[in-house]
Subunit: 281 residues, 2 copies
């Protein structure tokens, strides 16, 4: 197999109370990547979309992942050519960079005969996240590669666990503002109250139990973030109102998607997960 | 039914990374309580053990629970007589006061024709914990009443969830020193580092997932407490050595039981949980 066409889905990281540890994959939207194996050590990138992302492999999220895979192989007769067709808007808070990075790792692995383990794929793809946000985080990467709901118990050492969960309908509300991940990180307090941390880990345990028991009420009660959301939601005008309206319309609960500004709400109604994109007024 | 004889088991609260939210019930040891319904509003307590616990109902952990049940009923023709046969040593860190309190609530409920819900039983029994430690906590009470592993997601409002878990062999090492719960609470820092809190909630999510998937390796990897144990273990001489020795002998992991000084270690070997009491040198 010398050419592969893959779909790489959007993902929701920092799933409400699961800051830095829980992420889920969406069915839609997804990027499409067509990747070809080359027999010389170079990476050639072209875009079939309107996002004008850099095509210099050193500056491209997928590019640095291909380069990392080549370095890991230490084989000077291997390279990659990729046509990127992104549908996940960069900066929309549903893992656009992770989709490029994870897609590159998975595509390279297929073309090379599935030589990498899942942990190695996550490690490779984290190079793309490092380029995009300055931090090697896996809470978009892991669900993008594994599907469903992923727990990143630890980054050092890497410990990723798939958590069974019922089908959920996911609504992503995307305000037309930009929140830089680095800004969203900077406003977080380095210290938190122990009593808040206890409430948060009670909610996380409740959320995981609710997913594994298919207990939607428990999922709803546990979708509460007392640590990150009170700080970050200040950056998102109308946050409380959107959340309240969604809950009144039947959502189980929700919060900030990734580092924002998107807002993610979970519902039980539909059999399969899909994304509604809405524009806030 | 005018008389009832109940067994009320020991429990392990603050299950390693699950400070204030996770507790489990032991098969053994357990207290025995013989409780009789009276037709006048008084509580009569006698002890059939050597612990010399107070028999004044206002000062007795079981006594205040019976009084709370009577107050809740608002019926001046009801009282309780109890013979306490405690086998769980007070101050041993495996929920001695909770066994008395939960036993009183459950016995009273049986004698009254099961009029209280499980949440009401927990609420009633927490009056005993309040007397014993000054704090209404439920992480011993809940597993003592419900059995198995309990998550206390929230105290206000009360939200208790049973978590399915495989059989585990529990070893409790009990150093011959006393650690007062109030002292153990006082040395905790009111603030914790966000990065430590994140590591802790990753571990809690891993522990719950491990229990529900019967994944012993994951349980072992998740039995790590980076917040409470580093502070409280200072009060327990030999803590690190005991833990290391138990792990070398095949334990999955463990930590401080309750507020100490007991140390709890979990193993997968035996089919049913039981307690080994060991004395540290």
């Amino acid at each position: 197999m010398e050419q592969v066409r893959i779909k790489s889905p959007g993902t929701v990281a920092n799933l409400v109370c699961g800051f830095d540890i829980l992420g889920l994959a969406l069915n839609d939207p997804f990027d499409i990547m067509e990747v070809k194996l080359l027999n010389e050590p170079k990476v050639v990138i072209s875009n079939r979309d309107d996002f004008n992302l850099p095509t210099d492999p050193e500056k491209n999220v997928a590019g640095v992942v291909f380069l990392a895979a080549m370095e890991k192989l230490n084989n000077s007769e291997i390279g990659f050519e990729v046509i990127m067709e992104k549908h996940i808007k960069p900066g929309s808070g549903i893992g656009s960079s992770a989709a490029s990075a994870a897609g590159a790792a998975v595509a390279a692995n297929h073309l090379l005969g599935n030589i990498f383990s899942k942990d190695e794929l996550v490690q490779l793809a984290m190079n793309g996240e490092k380029l995009a946000s300055g931090v090697k985080h896996a809470d978009n990467i892991a669900p993008c590669i594994l599907g469903g709901l992923s727990l990143i118990r630890s980054i050092h050492p890497l410990d990723i666990i798939s958590i069974p969960a019922p089908d959920l309908h996911v609504t992503v509300v995307h305000p037309q503002i930009e929140v830089r991940t680095s800004d969203a990180r900077q406003i977080l307090k380095q210290q938190v109250l122990l009593k808040d941390a206890i409430r948060q880990w009670g909610n996380i345990a409740g959320l995981v139990t609710g997913f594994m028991k298919n207990d939607y009420d428990l999922i709803g009660r546990s979708l509460e973030d007392v640590i990150i959301e009170p700080v970050r939601s200040i950056l998102i005008p109308g946050f409380d109102e959107v959340k309240r309206n969604c809950k009144e319309a039947g959502a189980l609960g929700g919060g900030i998607s990734g580092s924002g500004p998107s807002i993610v709400m979970l519902r039980k109604e539909e059999k399969t997960a899909r994304v509604e994109k809405k524009v806030m007024n």
